[in-house]
Symmetry: C2
Subunit: 335 residues, 2 copies
């Protein structure tokens, strides 16, 4: 026993009557150790409750067995959206059976980008997953160029080097949603789009615009910022400008919930007067009245895949492609 209470390799070796090296081999599953020796060592490990010292190991292997999940967003919007928790859940699920631990790097207050970059460059983690929504400054570009395995949760805006990323097909998802509104007979279809400094905002708007154009219908757009407040403002503007609209495609469930409320308060029935389609299929979608018809993104799966790719990159594989996953229309009561 050393001072800190944890037994060391040395002590296990002494108890098992072998050398440090042999114990190390057993711990790391080396094939060339006599079964008898293995048994003796394992017995000693059990008896002492030995746990390898990660710091010592990291020092020599130059691997930390930990990966970072980075949220380089100074504002707390990320947290109010259930999206983030689902992502985390997915990442964690594929990391669980590996030795890798999840280190959370958040930028809660004013952006101290240099600190973040220093940390990532300092060899404290083996790789990083970037959950970023905005193309803020050029932090994404700097992250992309780090000499460290990195994957992005969405095609990072304004980055001109090839990166690995995982995302849903936002354009196609939006198309599905708008087409559904068309298919149930709506013609005066407006959209509440997300901010244009996020790929999700841009692409979902594009999908809406494409379908409307193909149908020969005029586009009606208001912008929100993916928050309930933003959704509310946008919905009010829309009703003001186009009181006769009969369909509404909203770029996120969080904003859609607010829109539903605004519609209801304006005396409109959903879906009878105005049919509403959201985007995400978050927990929120089933808490509204009526339940929200929405475009589901498989967020947990994205997170899971993100982790898989990162692990592969850490293992040395090249990977600089954008993986795109399909969305799925979930029809409930609002459209």
């Amino acid at each position: 026993m050393n001072g800190s209470g944890s037994p060391t390799l040395e002590e296990v070796a002494a108890l098992a009557g072998v050398s440090r090296a042999t114990v190390s081999r057993v711990v790391n599953g080396s094939p060339k150790v006599l079964p008898d020796t293995v048994a003796a060592v394992e017995q000693a490990i059990l008896q002492l409750g030995y746990v390898p010292n990660r710091a010592a190991r990291a020092l020599v292997t130059r691997r930390t067995d930990s990966v970072a999940i980075v949220v380089p967003e100074p504002d707390s919007r990320v947290f109010s959206d259930p999206f983030f928790a689902r992502m985390l859940s997915g990442v964690s699920r594929t990391l669980a059976p590996t030795p890798s631990q999840l280190v959370l790097l958040l930028e809660p207050a004013e952006a101290d980008d240099q600190r973040l970059l220093r940390y990532l460059r300092g060899g404290h983690v083996d790789g990083a997953i970037i959950i970023s929504h905005h193309g803020r400054d050029n932090i994404l570009q700097e992250l992309a160029q780090l000499p460290l395995p990195i994957v992005f949760s969405a095609r990072p805006l304004g980055v001109d080097v090839p990166v690995a990323s995982v995302d849903v097909d936002n354009v196609a998802g939006a198309r599905t949603g708008v087409q559904h509104l068309l298919s149930i007979g709506r013609r005066k279809i407006a959209t509440i789009a997300g901010p244009l400094d996020m790929t999700a905002g841009i692409d979902r708007l594009t999908g809406y615009q494409e379908v409307m154009k193909e149908a020969g219908l005029p586009a009606m757009v208001a912008y929100g910022d993916f928050t309930p407040d933003g959704g509310e403002q946008a919905a009010l503007r829309l009703l003001d400008d186009h009181p006769d609209l009969d369909g509404l495609f909203v770029a996120s469930d969080l904003m859609a919930t607010a829109a539903l409320r605004v519609l209801s308060q304006s005396g409109r029935r959903v879906p009878a007067d105005v049919a509403v389609v959201g985007f995400d299929d978050s927990v929120l979608a089933t808490t509204t009245t009526p339940k929200l018809t929405t475009v589901r993104q498989p967020v947990e799966q994205l997170g899971s895949r993100l982790a898989e790719i990162l692990l592969a990159k850490i293992a040395g594989e090249e990977h600089t492609t954008a993986e795109i996953y399909d969305t799925e229309l979930v029809i409930r009561d609002s459209a």
Copy 2:
């Protein structure tokens, strides 16, 4: 430069023309270093982009500068509730200015408790925050007895040793909510309680029962599991058993949203026919129709305080008391 690309103390020393030890002193802010020397060293550090190797440092200091946030819940309910993200945000906020990193320990699949305990005992982190909702098995008891600074996010059920914990006054919060229903003239007040293996479930029910008893009114209770589905089932049962109820106190916003929907579908108007009060003040509360009146818990603050206490314990302070924070009634449209 060594193989990994990061410069070492040695290289900084060479460039600055001093010894390793002196550089180390500068890095760690030792007071007795000549200003000139400090300047020279800092210049060298900057020039080389030196970052201390955390593994090497941890090896000798026996501190890891990282704390764990542990969610020993095998099911994913934690993630569907915005509560968790807010907690994380609070913890992260007070950790940000410190050197400590946040390590996330989740138990996504079947509980591998021993693995978790081994990890925590292995000196990989300096301390841990336990976010636990259930009194599952005796994992909490085992955690509480670990030779490691630990704080709990709520008074842990079934633990008979003194522990440090932070929570809101759930009894008082529930009382406030129910009293509000009384104050607006409701007399047939039911509750949707949480599960009785969580302190939040028990205490909020207690608060409800106390107030009802004091008012000489009969209690009407249905149980949910803090999910929307559970809330829906409970609401249906309640309406079935007590079709004439005019007030409803729901132990969580997530369940309350479902209850609102059930009430609406049953043809009842909220708050005209039935007034509803939730608990949490999560993002959900403003997404419903009508907006939810609810008992706010300062979740970010709890997380923040949790981190503060943990840091203090790591620094050597004793701390085994339960800190209780106040809730606040947020009156919106549902009651």
